[in-house]
């Protein structure tokens, strides 16, 4: 029971609406990618689901209204991977991941050996067990991204929100991070909502894409339905060639004007 539904959600910053009247339903275990040009409101949608911004309308997770959950219960239901996680200097990977257990502890609670076991297993699953004692500031970009995922997974929330997971990674690392998230989603039956810039990757990994423009939903569906040359030309003001590849999704290739 980890479906996410938004109905008539509006978010305004200083009176200016950035998300308008948004309806969205994400099934349990589904991967939905939010795409759209800069300023479309992708990140704001994710922030509304985790109640980091006030919103009008209703957001439900597993049938329960987000607005009425305690912040701890919300954190047990939704984990969020922000675009540029702050990695405190000097903190070790395991300590960082262990902070993901916070929603399961009391206000002044102490981590139990069970919490430590969960974190150890998460680190092992992400291939970070060798780096457990390393300081965050001494990790490579890809390792940092994995550490951030570890912290979110340690939260054991059935819904995972991801904001631009591949920014500043090279193409190999982009693939491996998305591959990893997809594997974890299948293994743990996670519901994933990801805001993504890179359209080809978004289409390859998501079950469905939701195209936001100016805070409104303009298209939702499979990659081949949403990623059309006219739509991208209109909303991104980009000239692209969309290539259907047999069995491996839709490629969006920019074309020189």
């Amino acid at each position: 029971m980890s479906d996410v539904s938004l109905s008539a959600v509006t978010v305004a910053y200083e009176g200016r609406p950035v998300v308008r009247d948004l309806d969205l339903a994400v099934a349990s275990g589904e991967w939905l990618s939010l795409i759209g040009p800069n300023g479309a409101g992708k990140t704001t949608v994710l922030r509304a689901i985790t109640r980091l911004v006030p919103f009008d309308g209703d957001i439900h997770i597993g049938g329960r209204a987000v607005a009425r959950l305690s912040s701890r219960d919300l954190a047990r239901g939704v984990a969020m991977l922000v675009q540029e996680p702050q990695m405190p200097a000097g903190m070790t990977v395991s300590q960082y991941a262990l902070l993901g257990r916070s929603p399961h502890l009391g206000y002044l609670g102490k981590e139990s050996s069970r919490d430590r076991r969960i974190v150890r297993d998460v680190l092992r699953r992400l291939g970070l067990d060798e780096l457990a004692s390393r300081a965050l500031d001494r990790l490579s970009g890809g390792e940092r991204q994995r550490a951030a995922i570890a912290r979110a997974l340690a939260q054991q929330a059935p819904v995972l929100l991801i904001d631009e997971p591949t920014t500043s990674l090279d193409v190999g690392r982009q693939q491996s991070v998305l591959e990893l998230i997809d594997q974890l989603r299948r293994e743990q039956e996670l519901t994933v909502i990801a805001a993504m810039h890179e359209l080809t990757l978004a289409g390859q990994y998501a079950d469905r894409l939701a195209l936001l423009v100016g805070g409104r939903l303009v298209a939702i569906g499979s990659a081949s339905e949403v990623l059309t040359e006219p739509a991208i030309a209109e909303h991104y003001r980009a000239q692209v060639k969309v290539i259907e590849m047999n069995g491996s999704g839709t490629a969006v290739v920019p074309v020189r004007r």
Partner: protein
Amino acid sequence: MLGVKLFSTRVARTPVLLGGLPRLPWAWAAGGALALLASCGVGVLAGPVHIGFGTVTQALLAPIPGLGAGISVDPGQANILWSLRFPRVVLGVLVGGTLAVAGAAYQGVFRNPLADPYLLGAAAGANLGATLAIALAPGTSVFGVNVIPLAAFVGAGAAVAGAYALGRTVTGLRSTTGLILAGVAIAAFFNSIQSYVQQTQTSSIRQVYSWILGRLVTAGWDDVLLVLPYVVLSVAVIFVHRRLLDALTLGEDEITSLGISVRRVRLIVVVAATLGTAAVVAVGGTIAFVGIIVPHAIRLLVGRSYRVVVPLSVLFGAAFLVLADTAARTVVAPAELPIGVITAFLGAPFFIVVMRSTRGAPL
């Protein structure tokens, strides 16, 4: 409710340690305890009046039932030790430990390495409260308690509450910068009122100055008892927030999405740290530097986790202040030096050495 057991099938039966978790290194904990003991030893042995090692030990043992039987100490020396030197050393422990741990706490909640116990105007408020009490109601006492430290408490509380309210209206408490700016503004405002009162009430100027410079010189067990409850409460509250102080080093959105109320943690820790600061300012005056130097030296030398910084700050802060106070009463004996002069004189070069020797370590 919403949580799912993701890894239940793979949880190992045998307890396996997770490496890389911050632990208080025992060598440092023992070293801190030893440093505190040694500084207290120096503190009780050194003073403008020469009292031998044997006499000091005997005076310490004499009141212990059983052990002390048959020990007789010169009453004059026993009086000096028990009425003056011992309480002053104990007060040094309380003041130093509290200032250092309050500094660490402020740096944690404001995520600002320059934050110190005086940041939110706590000292400015305490000084204004005391100045007003000295100037307007000299010698008054409420329920047998001198009104000056009470006024200092009220002043410190008012300053911090003011800074908090101001920072909140301006920035909704999301930004620590707003809170710090509010604190600076409140401190400047309180300082100006204090200067004005001081200028217009010149007859009380001497007492105001001696208050601001601290009264460790006149300390007795009364002062120890006055601050002890606040200091214990303050340090205990900060102590149990070690894990949350570590969590606060994450980004604000990340902390919130972990179900931790940044506002609540910040409020509780700030109130606790301010309470402790106001209490020790009431007896020790404004002693700069301890709250910045001690926690940072520990971060650079030992580690940045508050599980390490908080307990070691208490030990080393206390040891440092006892030593500084010992210097204050011996260097120009039988005269006294202001302790703030000593803490800055010893602290600044020491800190520079630590900074240079750990170059490249993140602050």
